[in-house]
């Protein structure tokens, strides 16, 4: 069974600074996807960034980038130039690549607070 671990329950960062959120996962699969989702107080989960396991290049989306270490089963999220609107819960998630259930397996989340 796959598991996702986020060891930082809470993080804080000052506006315009950089912060890194950690995520590790456990799987015996070779083909899979990894995601970071953001959940603001409104509760709506929003996809931040996605990484395909077969790609060696780390994914980037504007101020968001990941450090994907497949051998170490590590998938951290770096937020550059943090903004007040980045305040939210951040969830790391895993999905097996298979032609059936494509359920997301989530970690327990990291609460990020951005201070002015």
């Amino acid at each position: 069974a796959q598991t996702v671990t986020q060891s930082q329950p809470e993080m804080s960062v000052q506006e315009a600074e950089t912060v890194t959120l950690s995520c590790t996962y456990d799987t015996s699969e070779n083909n899979y996807y990894l995601f970071w989702y953001k959940q603001p107080p409104s509760r709506q989960m929003i996809l931040v960034i996605r990484q395909e396991a077969y790609k060696q290049q780390n994914a980037t989306e504007n101020r968001f980038s990941v450090n994907f270490q497949k051998a170490a089963k590590s998938f951290s999220l770096k937020i550059s130039d943090s903004q007040l609107g980045d305040t939210a819960m951040y969830f790391c998630a895993f999905m097996k690549q298979q032609w059936s259930s494509d359920k997301l397996i989530f970690g327990t989340g990291t609460r990020l607070q951005v201070f002015p």
């Binding site: 509760r43 709506q44 989960m45 996809l47 989530f106 970690g107």
Partner: protein, 114 residues
Amino acid sequence: EAGVAQSPRYKIIEKRQSVAFWCNPISGHATLYWYQQILGQGPKLLIQFQNNGVVDDSQLPKDRFSAERLKGVDSTLKIQPAKLEDSAVYLCASSLRDWQGEQYFGPGTRLTVT
């Protein structure tokens, strides 16, 4: 493009009562998911539909939870009878069946069982 719609946003019931949640996915999305998010935890998949067929319901407590997806569009999730431990946010999500892996989530329904 309209997002995933859910109703109600909040519901408070007493234990042993029944409750139903409704979800309308993004138009054209073949796959629909119901997740349960208990406070302090990440969401957990309860059931996944592909059109109106069930793909995965392995974590659905079938003695009290049921779900259906009429005509492959809207879906309802029902709990009967509710227990205190069912207090959670119930999230609906939908996706195109193209293996891009992106699921779009609705705002969720917060259920409190007293």
